[in-house]
Each structure stands twice: as C-alpha cells, then as structure tokens.
C-alpha cells in the first residue's frame, strides 16, 4: 500500500485518511486509478477511527461498536493499491491540481489530475472565559488521548457543552473506569421542541437505540446538570475551577483539574476555502459548507469534497460519500463511463440515504446556543493573537467591517491556527453586530500555505539553474 517514493504526478490525490478519504482511495485504486493519499497522522483512520490498528487499550468494549465498525474500512484501505503517505501535511492545492506537501521536514510539489479533499471536521470554537488555560481541552482531544494513548483524565474531570460526542466520551470514560465530577449540559431548552418535527426520520435511524443506550448509561452514573447558561474556567497558570450558572439562577463553582468542552463539529474547510471552492452558510448546522453536487464535486473543476468536510453527516455517511467522489473521479478521468459510475454508485447512494436519516433531528436537538457561540467581554475570541470579544465588538461598532479588515485592525485570525479556532465566532459576532446573515459577512480569506511551513522547508525544494538565475542579482 505505501511506497517510499513520491512520483511527480498522479491521476488522483486524496487529502485525509479518515473514513471518506480511505473509502475514496480504496474505490479509486480498485478501478485502476493511480492514487496517492496524504494524511497528517501516523496511522490511517482519521480522528473517528484513530489508532484502529494499534490502540493500546486492552478492553475493546471501552470505545464501543461504532468505533470498531471502522476496522474493515482501514483493512480494505491498507490492502488497496493506493499509495499512502502518512505524517504528510498538504499546505496548498491549486485549481490546476498542483499540490504542495510537507513530509518529514522536506517540501514536495507534485500534480494530480483530480483531487478529493477529505479533511473531515473539527470541533466548533467554544469561547468561554478561561478556555485557553492548560487543563481545558476539547472532548475530542480527550477521546484522541483515550484511543491513541489509553489515557483518561484524572482528578476532578468536568465535561461541558452539548452534542453526541460529549455523551459518547462520557460513556467511554465511565467504561474505562474514569470518574466524572460533573456533566454541565448547555443544550438550549427549546431545542427538543424544534427537533420533534423531524422525529420520524430519527425513529427510523440507527441513532435511536444507540443514543438511548448511551444516555441511560451516562445518566445513571454521572452528576448531570442541565440548562447551563453561563460557563467560565478559572485559574492562573492552569485550570483550578469551573463556574456555571443554570437557567434556574443557580450559580456554582466546582474545583476542577480537567475541563472538556464540546459543542458540535464543523467542516475543516481551510484547504477548500484557500483553493477557492464556493461555500455557503448553513443556518441549521451553523457553519459554512461547500457547494457540492450529489457526487461531491465542488465549484472548482478539479476538486471534489467527501465526508464531513462537505457538511457534517458522520462517519458512515463519510464512507459512502468517499465512494461516490471516487466513482465520479473515475468517470471524469475516463476510466469508467457514466452508466458504470451510476451502477456502481447505487449501493453507496442507498447507504448514504440510510446514514443521513435522523441527522435533521440531531442537528436541531444539539444546535448550540447563541450565548455560547458569541463571546463576550474579556473572553478571548482569537486564541493565537489573544484578541478579546470586546475588541471585536468595539471594532465592529466603528464601521461595517468584515473578517479580513478585522485582521488588519486586531491581528484576529492571523496566528498559526489561521482562524480554525476563531473564524466562525468572528463571522457570527460580526453578523450579529451588523444585523445581517453570516453569508453577508463571509469568512476569512485564506491563502496557502494553509498550515505553517518553515522557510527552510521551502528552500529544500529542488531548484533548476533557471530558477536560481531568475532570482539572482548579477
């Protein structure tokens, strides 16, 4: 599956080796397409199936059935003829398919006729006071430590937020013998009523049984606090306490060693935005999503997007979307005709429809509250450049500014994370301040490199005599 040497060109390049990327690469390789897969991690699986081959956890029951579903997918990918390049960071893709990737401290440029982006999801920013303190992490981070290093939080562990991952992590921690001091649930009270309209789809989905079993398991064994409407992490050099207020007016401060935050996941869109793929605001999922056709084809001719990077739908849907993107790529590359593509796609279209049942219900039930999406006062919005909510509000009050002017005014979004942890907060805060839709505000303009690379890495690029002559002074 993996080969040491990178070629100068491929028919298909896949970015990301989570469920969508693995499925796309396996499918394409099966059709005889020369495929390369770049992934930042050391092992395939993405975050959802992280460490599938080598998790040091002794008890497979801790992670649950949904995790082990990924084993077959990882195995098929590893058996495939696709070239897998781990620990590789793709920092640019051009509209023409030129790819810049950093592997082992050296940079390579290569070409692909077509590109499938399978960059997955990241956790929505959760800007509360003290969220930058050591000891405050995301629920996803804790889950990664569990899967990849068999580690659980010790001492007083507090979970806070909303969304399926919060409950899943709580159950996994309890199964692993970890103690939870409290679960502070921020799900707004009105959500259930709005979700009920979509109950039939949810009832027909597999989420129902799984979800109820999970909630039951956690509720019996954890101190659950509902209707939390304010949350703050306290401490000097590290987290020492968590203060919350409930809708009933109760204010409590808990001592805490670890605070794990989560309020849903959103597409990891930096690369797609930098390429120029058109995105629009999704008011239900509260994030920007790329404009795609049923195959995942983006507004850029050479680029398709599969999996959660194309809009949140979960791992099973991601796998189906990976197959669909690969089949369409094969058709566009001339390996198969449209009739063969459609015939091969049928089972995946069915699987996708099945996997998306119940999604509307979940999206509405776990839609995070505005008070936790928009930051206030001295709370940091931009963690990298340490820009506060007040600074953002004050700048917005001066004139009708967008996210890119905010960079010039405040350096907001200009640190190493390149807006990944503040982009949505900034767009929503500006939309709120100006009384317009996030679509009218837009997102940060992103440019390559989408992840920092050193000048030394760039200098490692092979140079021809002509390249050198072009920049040398005589």
């Amino acid at each position: 599956m993996s080969g040491p040497l990178l070629k100068d060109s491929y028919e298909l390049a896949v970015v990301g080796a989570g469920p969508a990327g693995m499925a796309a690469a396996t499918q394409a390789a099966e059709l005889g397409i020369e495929t390369v897969v770049f992934d930042e991690q050391a092992m395939p699986g993405g975050q959802i199936y992280r460490s599938m081959n080598e998790t040091p956890l002794r008890d497979p029951a801790i992670l649950g059935e949904a995790y082990w579903r990924g084993a077959a997918l990882v195995e098929a990918f590893q058996r495939s003829a696709a070239q897998y390049v781990p620990q590789a960071t793709v920092w640019t893709v051009s509209r023409e398919g030129e790819i810049g990737v950093s592997v082992g401290g050296a940079v390579r440029l290569l070409r692909a006729k077509r590109v499938v982006l399978a960059t997955g999801a990241l956790e929505r920013p959760f800007p509360i006071g003290g969220w930058t303190l050591p000891g405050v992490m995301t629920a996803g981070a804790a889950q990664i430590l569990l899967k990849s290093a068999a580690m659980v939080g010790s001492g007083r562990v507090v979970l806070a937020g909303t969304g399926p991952l919060l409950w899943l992590l709580a159950a996994q921690y309890l199964r692993a013998g970890g103690a939870l001091t409290a679960i502070l649930e921020t799900t707004p009270r009105g959500n259930l009523g709005r979700a009920l309209a979509h109950l039939p789809g949810f009832l027909a989905s597999g989420y129902l049984r799984e979800g109820f079993a999970l909630l039951g398991e956690v509720r019996r064994r954890a101190n659950l606090v509902r209707s939390v409407i304010a949350l703050r992490a306290g401490g000097g050099d590290r987290l020492t306490d968590v203060t919350y207020r409930t809708a009933g007016g109760l204010e409590v401060t808990l001592r805490a060693d670890i605070l794990l935050l989560h309020q849903g996941v959103v597409p990891n869109l930096n690369l797609a935005v930098a390429i120029g793929c058109k995105h629009v605001w999704n008011e239900v999922q509260l994030c920007f999503v790329p404009v795609l056709d049923a195959w995942g084809q983006s507004s850029v001719e050479t680029v398709a997007i599969a999996g959660d990077g194309g809009g949140i739908a979960g791992a099973v849907a991601a796998e189906a979307r990976g197959h669909l993107a690969a089949l369409d790529a094969a058709c566009r590359l001339g390996s198969i005709d449209a009739a063969a593509r459609d015939r091969l796609a049928a089972t995946h279209v069915g699987a996708l429809r099945e996997a998306q049942r119940g999604r509307r219900f979940l999206d509405r039930l776990f839609r995070p509250a505005k008070r936790f999406r928009l930051a206030r006062g001295r709370t940091l919005v931009c963690r990298c450049e340490e820009v506060t909510a007040r600074q953002v509000r004050d700048a917005a009050a001066l004139e009708r500014i967008g996210p890119n002017q905010l960079k010039a005014f405040l350096r907001c979004g200009m640190g190493p994370c390149q807006g990944r942890l503040c982009g949505l907060t900034v767009t929503e805060m500006l939309a709120d301040a100006h009384g317009v839709s996030p679509d009218d505000i837009g997102y940060y303009r992103l440019r390559p490199p989408v992840k920092p690379i050193t000048v030394g890495e760039l200098a490692s690029l092979p140079k021809s005599e002509a390249d050198i002559a072009a920049v040398e002074r005589s």
Partner: protein, 98 residues
C-alpha cells in the same frame, strides 16, 4: 491530570523534556507523553506570556507547540516520540537562526 490505563504490553522509550528523562510509550505523540508525565503547560504565548497546553490534540489549535530536537514550534500532538528525542518547552517566541 491524565493517567494511563492498564494496557497491552508496550515498548517504552525515553525522551528528555527540558533535560529531564521522561518515559514514554513507543508510537504515542509527544503531547500524550508530556501530559502523561504531568506537564500541563507546554509553552507561554508570544502575545501575553500566558501558559498554554494541548487543546485539540488533532493538529488544528497550535497550542501544544514545543521544540523537538532543536526545531522550534513543532505541533507536539502530530509528532511521535522516538528514543532519545529532546523536547524543550517554549517561552514566548521561538528563537530563529543558529
């Protein structure tokens, strides 16, 4: 802050963190090894000097930056430990140049 669960037989490696010998499990990331060894803060920020540690563990937040074998500002959550690896926590900006 984080503890290791009983696990399958593992290979241990030794890394140096700010000159201290730290035992780590082969295959895990530098971030996991440091958290298991009790390091909460990995660096202080260039902007205000406040302490930071890992937040996302998946390569997007850049709060776990450390120097690895003399190369500054590496994402500790994306680098795997190796026997004899030298890790330094960072204060403020990473030094540039020789």
């Amino acid at each position: 802050m984080f503890r290791r669960l009983p696990d399958a037989a593992v290979t241990l490696v030794t890394i140096a963190v700010d000159g201290l010998a730290v035992s780590a499990r082969a295959g895990e990331t530098v971030a996991a090894a440091l958290l298991a060894a009790g390091f909460g803060a990995f660096r202080t920020t260039p902007a205000s000097g406040s302490s930071r540690g890992p937040y996302c563990m998946m390569g997007v937040c850049f709060d776990c930056l450390v120097a690895v074998d003399g190369v500054g500002s590496r994402q500790a959550c994306l680098v795997q430990v190796r026997e004899g690896m030298r890790i330094e926590t960072q204060r403020g900006r990473r030094p540039v140049g020789p």
